[in-house]
């Protein structure tokens, strides 16, 4: 059985190591955590109880051994990826992506400009309310797109991403897009009509 030794380590290191092990362990499997401080033991048991994780504790010569079993229900709460961070202020404007390239001209330059544009959005003082993607714009949302990480981050910041469902079907990309919400033309038109400004890179 896998054993994580937190002896000599201070909070929150033991929790970090335990959480990581929980994520890596398969449902139904168990692992051990060694702890030599009462604070660590208390914090760990607290953490496990609050997350409804099954465990047992044994003590011998000042070292506690926790045997932790990963259950099916562990960590069903919102993962960081699903959670929107309400820290960023959002405006009333909308960004419309009609192509995977920025401007017309050299393709390589167009790609580069688009990366920079999307990165720049993250740094704006006021974020867009929504971003819509249609026609070749939806290519940006593909799992292997070179801007996908930035888009995921923007989505986490609370910006809603709407992707044109017709376009996704037309390009047969349903299997390759896992970001944002698929949307219809009515919603896209409504979104653009109610925006204070629509920015088209």
């Amino acid at each position: 059985m896998r054993t994580i030794d937190t002896r000599g380590q201070q909070c929150p290191v033991p929790i970090i190591a335990t959480k990581k092990a929980l994520k890596e362990t398969k449902t139904g499997e168990a692992f051990k955590v060694l702890a030599d401080s009462l604070t660590t033991l208390n914090n760990l048991t607290r953490f496990l109880k609050d997350n409804k994780t099954e465990f047992s504790v044994e003590e011998s010569a000042g070292v506690w051994t926790l045997t932790i079993k990963k259950g099916a229900g562990d960590f069903v709460q919102a993962e960081a990826d699903d959670y929107f961070i309400p820290h960023f202020s959002r405006g009333e404007f909308v960004v419309a992506f009609t192509s995977d390239k920025m401007g017309t001209g050299d393709d390589e330059l167009g790609n580069l400009l688009m990366v920079n544009f999307i990165k720049a959005i993250k740094e704006l003082d006021v974020l867009p309310a929504k971003m819509v993607f249609y026609n070749r714009g939806i290519m940006l949302g593909k799992d292997d797109s070179h801007v996908i990480e930035h888009l995921r981050e923007i989505e986490k910041m609370g910006v809603k991403l709407l992707l044109c469902a017709t376009c996704v079907n037309f390009y047969s990309l349903a299997e390759k897009i896992h970001i944002g919400t698929l949307s219809n033309m009515y919603e896209i038109a409504q979104t653009m009509a109610s925006a204070t400004n629509v920015i088209k890179p």
Partner: protein, 346 residues
Amino acid sequence: MKIDLLQMVEVGGCSAKIPPEQLEEILKYLPLPEDPNILVDIDTHDDAGVYKVNDDLALVFTTDFFPPVCSDPYEFGQIAAANSISDVYAMGGRPVIALNIMMFPASKMPLEAYIDILRGGADMAATAGVRIIGGHTIDDNPPKYGLAVIGYVHPRRIITNAGARPGDSMILTKPVGTGVILAGQRLKMASEKDITEAKRIMKLLNNSGAEVMKKYDIRGATDVTGFGLAGHALKMAKASNVSITLNVKRVPLIGKTYDLVDQGCIPGAAFRNLEYAEPDTRFASDLDYNLKMIAFDAQTSGGLLICVPNDSKDKVISGLKKAGLDNSSIIGSVNDYEDRFLYLNN
């Protein structure tokens, strides 16, 4: 040689407070002085004591000091001073004079660090219009710094923990997460960007928020420090004999605080604060665990938590935003006492 204060500490800032339930136990053994001029004492767990001089003037008196929260001595001085002065603002007062409180390992650290800490404190005090008129230093490791501050307040315009009224909205003026980000910094998990943002937040004086409170005649507020957002809300609820509901998803966070907590980066102080609050708190059954722990994260030089009557909440929010406190948000509400003092909902 570049001095790194964080090399010398295990817990920094307000995380270094002793656990709240232990403090309550100790305070039981201390007699509360009786004097009609004492307007606010530790009975309501307020940020500072208030002593009436005459019908138009009372003194707000407070102290706070702690080990380093950042590497740079000058910045540490700034943050410690902003944090100490904050208690006066939270009580509706105007800070006037202060004394330095310093512990410094003179044999272990170059004296320039000592000077830089004091310089940071002096500059922050000057920004707040506070005159530092003396101080005291003890040789001790790790270094610790803060101020004892005196401010003026009108005896009938004191803002306290006991001023929350059913129907009020709770407004928070700064994002939370300093304890998490500082722990993440020590473990090299926090980004430079977030560390810089956390330091900016900690250096931000609560004076502009206090001005808005005065303008709208607020009676209930506190500043969020070592007991965490939820811990301080609980203290208010108890002092005011009301129930306070916090909506944890509405609480603004510093940068990637949530992701750090999701990775298990939960400082020990959050567990201590949770333990203290638990008997008086009802947790929603679907409460997000990470947000729950963030609500108990010990803050250093945190924002003001203000109780605002419902009809002026929009004006107060826009006043705070105009004063540059962009993150100001309504994060909860005050109700008649029922069953528990504190309710944590998503």
